[in-house]
Amino acid sequence: MSEAQLISPLSAEEVEAIEAEIAHLPDRASAAIDALLIVQEKRGWISDESLAAIAGLLGMSTADLDSIATFYNLIYRRPVGRHVVMVCDSVSCYVMGCDRLRGAVEEKLGVKPGGTTEDGRFTLLPIVCLGACDRAPAMQVGKELFGPVAADDLDGIFGGFD
């Protein structure tokens, strides 16, 4: 049995990408965060099964990997929508009215922070400073950064995501 088959919940592509990260590092466990991000990129979040499979691939216990996974903001241990909407709530955006923007987003999507729209398209999450303070208030949808965002812009922005 090949290694990839042994840890069947991971695709060959995922395993390959993780192995490529491991190649840069002195030991397998050091690739923990990279591996989580790689798998999450494909699946949106890290399920218990994914977690166990990654832990197996890296030669560490699930508890050890989960300890790492639960430390980081960008690793989701619960399902998220197809696109994660992050509205910056840090100080520059605060000064520029991010609370109003978040209110508008909540209304538009019909969910509170942490919630996922019923159609599974969007999950709304708070995020710390996106490094776009000159474009405050800023938000990110998926990998795309927007700012400054006014309530009127939201339809246009969300319309661009399926």
Binding site: A32, L36, V91, S92, V95, C129, C133
Partner: protein, 436 residues
Amino acid sequence: MHDLSTMPLTGRLLDADAAGKGVVDLEAYEASGGYQAARQAVTGMTPAEIRELVKDANLRGRGGAGFPTGVKWGFVPMDGAAAEGHKYLVCNADEMEPGTFKDRYLMEKDPHMLIEGMIIGAWAIEADKAYVFLRGEYHEPYRQLQDAIAQARSRGYLGEGIFGTGFNLELAVHRSGGRYICGEETALLNALEGKRAQPRTKPPFPPASGAWGRPTIVNNVETLCNVPAIVTNGADWFLELGRGEDAGTKVFGVSGRVNNPGLWELPMGTPIREIIDDHAGGMQKGYRLRGILPGGASTEFLVEEHFDLPMEYATIQAAGSRMGTGTMILMDDSICPVDMSRNLQHFFAQESCGFCTPCREGLPWVEQLLLDIEEGRGQPGDLEVLDRNADFIGAPGNTFCLHATGAIEPLMSALKYFRDDFEAHISTGRCPYREA
């Protein structure tokens, strides 16, 4: 064309912008002398010479603490048993300090400049591995860096036998899982090792024992971007660049209610008011400036009386704040200082790594008190409780790392400069900035 001898960091990318390209690509970078400094350093200078040069240039870290870069590099063991085996150069591109957006700009627009700076930095300490520790949310910089690294490798600037010498360097990008504390250099090392990003004890200091227990230098993006031009133009040139005591230029930034928020490369020592008025276009109509956080969310407020001061390490320090990242956040008169403090403390409490008690438990309490005061539930004595918490959480050494110290800096200064606002909240039981 911008003059690279006065705008070494942004001259190229402003040209690229002007040409409608957005990014300084490899051709443009090379055409403007790019990678010549690296070639010169690796083929013509010893590591010791580079370390001396950078020390002489008095380049200070642009990540917030302002530690002299050449001095830091000098701590790396260069011979004997401790020098055998891997050494690492890590670029701190975590940039999560609220109000800070300079590193994103540099990486997104001119990734080769960082790579070149890292080649020289790595050679200076004979590191054979380099990592860019990049914020996970920075998707565009990630793409740009990945492309640029591939290009640099294809030109032989990275990999085995760089510039035909025996110097090898692998450069990889590590994306962060996302947490402010990852920017703290020892927490960053843990994150790089794939662990929870809890800060580490010092000693050992990273130059002696860092990533995977090996000598490691951690430098900010902007710090490393300064290095190629120093090699090209020399230490004296760099010393001359600054307007006052400090050497070089700085990417200053302004966010808040100004007409033209953004970033500008200006000489060290440019006065605050000049940055705000001349470059950021002054305050928007109807807004009055009350205070600034001069170098990111973890620096103390400066107020009216300070606005003519030059942005210089010693001067800003003497005024009771820190130069930090040099990206300032403006508080105008429509913003409630209590609520802004609450917003800041919310950030720091959320981003506490959870390791040490004062930060983990103290900051949420502070946040909760500020919320109470803001929402009209403040009680007599609350300010004393805040003061005491601030004293005990904020004193360097009371917490394990400087996260909590940074958290308390804006709070302490807000309690000092805007105390009337706090007291008014408590005595009237409401926030005067909110519509009734």
